[in-house]
């Protein structure tokens, strides 16, 4: 080894300079944790849902246009059945062709609506548009992004490399991948962002006949959800239809709710809120979802990187300087 201390320090300094430049991050690099004031979302009330699946059909129709979450040039629909088969589309789960699904959970004789004993309940599953989305934080190329105004978590296909870390990161198992295609994309609900830009709103809410899904600003949806929990079963209430501030109301008696607005605290809060008459874990929702912000878990590691860089360089250099004469006697 013929390297003097100056050469060594120069090399080490150059190396660490490159690395520091590439890993030191701006202070605001960690994820936003506040709900944007104008953020929009959906409130789904399972007690109002009649399982007609109008939202599923119209989700597919209105997302198969340029800008839509299911759009693929040259494909008219994304129905799961093959063309020519005499069946209506019957998606039973989220898939690369279905980003919104109505499921039913039953028990026993399944006669009582919104009851988990000898009853059943519908549930509508799609992206919850987290306030601090794990999928956005884990994406290495920023293909999943959160709109800073509307809070919509959307997808930029042209950036995506297909590593599928978003699917590992999502605590709700929402993103789906087009495994069947040679050039695949991630598919997930984008809250009909393309329609919102045209002054419209999510198709699933526009075509919901009962007001089970309503669109609106998240602050208003939270108020509406909280209000419904204060109502007594059997009271008559004017449920807004389509949007939270809609003039069109559906007047009907209130069912019994469990005292939980799903999406208020889960994973740090989401822009899709749910109400139901049965516990959410019975509806297939993971009951262990943390109320902490998931991206904090990985940020805790990333934030230490500059210290590790400094530490390894310091300790490495010091070790080299101290030990470099160790074997001199033996070698010479």
């Amino acid at each position: 080894m013929s390297m003097n201390r100056r050469d060594f320090l120069k090399t080490a300094a150059a190396g660490s300079g490159i690395l520091l430049a590439s890993t030191v991050t701006p202070a605001n690099a960690s994820m936003p944790k506040e709900l944007p004031p104008e953020a929009v979302g959906i409130l789904y009330d399972a007690t109002l849902c009649i399982g007609c699946k109008s939202c599923m059909v119209n989700c597919k129709t209105y997302n198969n246009v340029p800008g839509g979450a299911l759009y693929l040039p040259g494909r008219a629909t994304s129905y799961e059945v093959k063309p020519g088969e005499p069946y209506w589309d019957s998606a039973t789960d989220l898939s690369s062709k279905t980003v919104n699904v109505i499921k039913v959970n039953k028990s026993g004789t399944a006669v009582n609506k919104d009851n988990n004993e000898n009853g059943y309940s519908f549930i509508k599953q799609h992206c919850l548009h987290c306030i601090t989305p794990a999928c956005v934080s884990v994406c290495p190329v920023g293909a999943l992004r959160k709109n800073p105004v509307t809070g919509v978590v959307y997808y930029e296909e042209s950036r995506c490399i297909g590593c599928r870390y978003c699917m590992i990161g999502c605590p709700f198992n929402i993103p789906r991948y087009e495994y069947e295609r040679a050039i695949p994309q991630v598919r997930k609900c984008q809250l009909c962002q393309h329609r919102y830009e045209e002054g419209k709103y999510s198709a699933c809410c526009e075509f919901c006949p009962t007001g089970a899904s309503i669109f609106g600003k998240v602050v208003d949806l939270r108020k509406e959800a909280a209000k419904r929990l204060t109502l007594k079963p059997g009271d008559v209430y004017d449920f807004p239809v389509q949007t939270v501030g809609s003039k069109e109301k559906s007047r009907r008696p209130v069912s019994k709710y469990i005292n939980h607005v799903y999406g208020m605290k889960e994973a740090g809060g989401t822009q899709y809120l749910l109400l139901a008459g049965v516990p959410f874990d019975w509806l297939g929702f993971n009951k262990n979802i943390s109320e902490a912000y998931l991206p904090d878990l990985t940020w805790a590691y990333i934030a230490k990187i500059p210290a590790v860089i400094a530490g390894v360089i310091l300790v490495g250099t010091a070790t080299w300087a101290i030990t470099k004469n160790r074997n001199k006697d033996k070698e010479e």
Binding site: P140, Y165, Y179, R181, I302
Partner: protein
């Protein structure tokens, strides 16, 4: 044995070539027909064998490069200098395995360069990608003297040797971050990863187990190549590596037990489920048994004993990566109604990668001065 005596076209070579050809065809099939046609991955199991074995395992198996280079150039422990070259070359093949497999595993392989220009600093995957690029470059620089010697380029050789300490320090830094960041990848999924493996210490566990594996892998390789290429095994070096193994294995065992006790508790590991049994297998085969064997003087000082321990540690640590990447999510994903077992094409591609590494190492030994054999 001299380099000239190494025969390239042996029956083993033919078998390796056949595996590589078959794996190459499977890889082409995956490129043209997609992941759905070639793998058993699904929406609930987005990651499988290629991520867990080739990437997590391949990078861990490559840890010998930075551990031995650091020992020789930063700790100035010149006794280990004879094994620097094979260790770095092995690391290079480990990274080649990981990089090739991740390229096949991502959905759109020709966009593999995107992370380098589309920075997203919140993402561990971004950190991982940058490290793969930088460290593969560093490994190429570290092994470039092999090529410069062969091509008889004394000035280039002299230059690289002059900056070697700096390069090695850079490599140690990158590896520390890269090995740990592969564990950090899973921090985002606390509800999916079994508590037997999930903890905030996961990055640290990956780093320590990589160092443990490094010592065994380098020792394994040294003994194996002394048998294959029929030269005297460097006993002094191997005994030193075994002493190092004893220390690191003991430290890792304490860490693992601490993690278990402060995490789900010992009872959880003994509940008899498949996942818990896989955890026990990893613990007993890869950590407890090697540690106990290394404690025995007549194992630690005999090459056969050391070789056996090396095999245990290698199997155990690779099993750990498979457990974290696949088995740890089996309970959660099972509740969602999905199972995963790799398809034959996934196995074939992985086997082809291993065959490539073995054959590549052999060819390097024949044509480059890796083991300092006589010409």
């Amino acid at each position: 044995m001299t380099q000239k005596d190494i025969k390239l076209f042996t029956p083993t070579t033919v078998v390796l070539l056949v595996i590589m050809a078959a794996g190459g065809l499977a890889a082409l099939y995956r490129v043209f027909f997609g992941l759905g046609a070639s793998t058993h991955l699904s929406n609930i199991w987005p990651w499988g064998l290629w991520i867990s074995f080739d990437v997590l395992g391949g990078v861990a198996l490559a840890a010998g490069g930075f551990v031995i280079a650091g020992t020789v150039y930063l700790l100035n422990w010149k006794k280990y200098k004879p094994i620097v070259r094979p260790a770095i070359l092995n690391a290079f093949f480990g990274y080649a395995l990981a990089a090739t497999s991740i390229t096949l595993d991502i959905g759109v392989p020709w966009r593999i360069w995107h992370p380098v220009v589309m920075w997203q600093v919140n993402s561990i995957m971004f950190i991982v990608a940058i490290h793969v690029v930088l460290y593969t470059t560093t490994l190429a620089t570290e092994s470039s003297p092999l090529i410069f010697e062969k091509l008889n380029m004394p000035r280039a050789l002299h230059f690289v040797e002059k900056i070697m300490v700096g390069i090695v320090l850079f490599g140690v830094l990158l590896s520390t971050l890269h090995q740990s960041s592969l564990g950090a990848v899973f921090l985002i999924a606390p509800t999916k990863v079994s508590p037997l493996w999930y903890s905030s210490r996961l990055p640290y566990m990956f780093l320590v187990s990589a160092v443990m594996l490094a010592l065994s892998m380098v020792s394994f390789e040294t003994i194996l190549s002394s048998r294959v290429f029929k030269h005297e095994p460097p006993r002094d070096i191997l005994l030193g590596l075994a002493r190092g193994s004893l220390v690191v294995t003991g430290f890792y065992l304490v860490l693992k037990l601490w993690d278990l006790i402060t995490g789900p508790g010992i009872g959880y590991a003994l509940n008899g489920s498949l996942v818990s049994n896989m955890y026990l297998l990893e613990m007993i085969l890869g950590i407890i048994l090697p540690f106990v064997l290394l404690l025995m003087n007549n194992v630690r000082t005999r090459l056969n004993g050391i070789f056996f321990v090396n095999v245990l540690v290698i199997i155990g640590t690779v099993l750990n990566r498979l457990n974290v990447g696949i088995v740890s999510m089996a309970e959660y994903n099972g509740r969602m109604g999905y199972d995963y077992f790799p398809s034959w094409m996934e196995f074939l591609v992985t086997m082809a990668m291993i065959a490539f590494a073995i054959l590549g190492f052999k060819i390097s030994v024949k044509y480059l001065n890796v083991l300092k054999l006589e010409h």
